[in-house]
Symmetry: C2
Subunit: 208 residues, 2 copies
């Protein structure tokens, strides 16, 4: 297990955060989820609250990109017109590469599997679950307020994550071929997933 960086991609409400956090504790390595936002805020110079808000609501980047560049008549360097979403993404890329360079850790979300694709010491995990499990998990964690249409919000958030991943990686989010291990947390439970990942790390092929 020593020397492994574990990335966890996850559906909203699947318990990926809890699984990653518990796994990091058991392995005694640093855990990064929303901490990356704070670091990316510092990196990019934006206010943290602003980055947090943008992180969950950014989309249509490509069209926005083109429209913004065109609105300036396409003059000058493209980088000078780089939209917020791209600025934040590249700040996160820098932060994630730096964290991975420091040694073993668990990183949740933010295309970390793709960003670290050239490293040989990374184990990529994807966690998904059925809607009943995701809804229950979100309600228990107080992730959405009473009266919210929880199912709709979960679907929208997953749609955003899938689109975001596809846009920056040109890969399909949740396609098993891109991960070493994919788990249905509604089948195994949070604790069960942590144990399976721990077992998997121990039994890993030496070549990886």
């Amino acid at each position: 297990m020593q020397g492994k960086i574990i990335t966890i991609s996850r559906q909203c409400g699947s318990g990926g955060h809890s699984i990653g956090s518990e796994l990091a504790k058991r392995l005694d390595v640093p855990f990064y989820d929303r901490e990356i936002i704070e670091m990316a805020a510092k990196e990019s110079g934006f206010h943290q609250g602003f980055v947090e808000e943008k992180e969950e609501h950014m989309n249509s980047s490509l069209l926005f990109n083109i429209a913004r560049y065109a609105s300036y008549g396409g003059r000058g360097r493209y980088e000078d017109y780089q939209p917020l979403q791209d600025q934040l993404y590249f700040a996160q890329v820098k932060v994630i590469k730096e964290l991975a360079g420091k040694g073993p850790c668990v990183i949740v979300g933010r295309c970390a599997d793709y960003i670290l694709r050239d490293r040989k010491d990374v184990l990529n995990i994807f966690i998904h679950a059925d809607m009943a499990f995701k809804k229950k998990h979100c309600m228990e964690r107080g992730q959405f307020s009473e009266g919210d249409n929880t199912e709709d919000r979960i679907r929208r958030r997953d749609k955003f994550r899938a689109d975001h991943y596809q846009y920056y990686t040109d890969r399909k989010w949740g396609d098993s071929f891109h991960y070493h291990l994919c788990l249905d947390s509604s089948a195994f439970g949070i604790e069960g997933c942590v144990s399976i990942i721990e077992d998997a790390c121990r039994g890993m092929h030496p070549a990886l």
Copy 2:
């Protein structure tokens, strides 16, 4: 673990057959892979060798279906013009449902995860691997002759499996959301995958 039916879908050369076979031995339950062909042959009335050949080379079923039916002027019962591919598929559906009805077992391939989707006692696994692993595994098992373009043949076989699965299930083959557990056998090795699946079965959520 008692009472579970395990379906294993797998890329060509990923070791899915070996993993399933070893798993069945450890769990002391029946194992079905190509045995299903023999049973489907009996069920459909076709010769086994003919079924085996058709199983790896059938495609374009929909177009063939329509063209064949149309060539008879669309008269009579559609079932009477059902093409070979569909006749064999439905024979396999019947065989797989009967096998599952007999109790715990391991079934490899043949859309078994989809065919048994209404049962609550099924654990669905998908095994994939990188091309280097798949090539090595196929050569070691003598699956292709010397001089064959092994990579091309592996790709063609996986393409056929993906198309076949998509046609009969309207699902994307290898999309993690349809399986409880997806494993990269080039990361964990054959033995490692067997152990992870065993561990996963033990840690399964009681609700499944």
